[in-house]
Symmetry: C2
Subunit: 224 residues, 2 copies
Amino acid sequence: MRVIFNEELKQVADDLDHMAQDVRKAINGAGEALLKQDVEAAQTVIDGDIEIDALESSVIDQCVKLLAKQNPVATDLRVVVSTLRLASTFERMGDLARHVAEAARRTYPASPLPESAQPVFAEMIDFLNHTADELVNLLNNRDEKHAESIILNDDKLDDLHHKTFELALSDDVTRQQTVDIVLLGRFLERLGDHAVSAARRVAYIVSGFDPSKKPTRDEGIDIA
Amino acid sequence: MRVIFNEELKQVADDLDHMAQDVRKAINGAGEALLKQDVEAAQTVIDGDIEIDALESSVIDQCVKLLAKQNPVATDLRVVVSTLRLASTFERMGDLARHVAEAARRTYPASPLPESAQPVFAEMIDFLNHTADELVNLLNNRDEKHAESIILNDDKLDDLHHKTFELALSDDVTRQQTVDIVLLGRFLERLGDHAVSAARRVAYIVSGFDPSKKPTRDEGIDIA
């Protein structure tokens, strides 16, 4: 029984890793689409979101079956419950990356962003690419250092998000650009929040520290 | 054993009902805050979000304990897994209501919305108040009719959300109002999405139909 459980747990862990890698690709691609008007990258992110959604369904099904058949307890139970929740977080991150890609595709060959906003958004994308790398590393080696780095660094993204409002309020941009800056800034900030939430969940698997005691507050109303 | 399980399941179901009622109150209050510049209502929503967060933690803890001690299968397992996921959905709805309340408090005694945007937002709030009633009913009596009504009606909210972009792009509003219309419209639209997702999860408990096969697509990039 125990061997089967471990095999099945390994399968679901592999699927979860796969989701994390897909999310990293989606974030990379959304950044290319947004900053370099790469419409093929945009389309790849949009099409690829279906795979992330399908993986979520599969991971949840597997977790429910594991719970039904194997009655895991202690660490194993923590792993299964956290995996269920991580799958939903990754699914949501895929949606957000898709939204960014859709915005880029909509205005192609122009950028949805004015020149003035490009540097701040480039910094946000850099930050999120790095965070996505850390998330994949964290899942692979379960080293809490990566979780800490994700959780502690999130303030930087919030600071950048704050700057986007200054850009959105400038008279030098069109109304449509104001709308796009606000929405794109929000999508990227939420991507960071979900990464923090994912990092806490992995930390919970590793250490048993319950991340729900320290929920990610979405302080997203910080509007100008 | 079985009696204890049912008792414990009843306790967690009561806590989940409590969360749904708190979310309904938060949506009602956010609407009052936004449309009637009721700053006390805003503060109540903001302060009350801590209770919703605490209930989420408690529901998740109880579900994990149930899974560990009782090894539920079939319908009981579906109830526990869906309850876990519903708690997270409700927690998120509380955050979104709080964001609306925070926007109202920030601009008090003025409204964050221009006059021109009030009717559309009033319709969105009406819609969400009705949806929140249906959610509470659904949890109480597990009648799939309420789930269907929530799921099928969501298009109305999307149409209203679409209209907010026209208002945001008008030259008659200030830049700050454009920013606020976009964010507030997004928060309300996401509240509706989460209500749909919650309705699907309750339908899953009732009928065994797996809601993850028909995920709520967040089509939120519909930016003008």
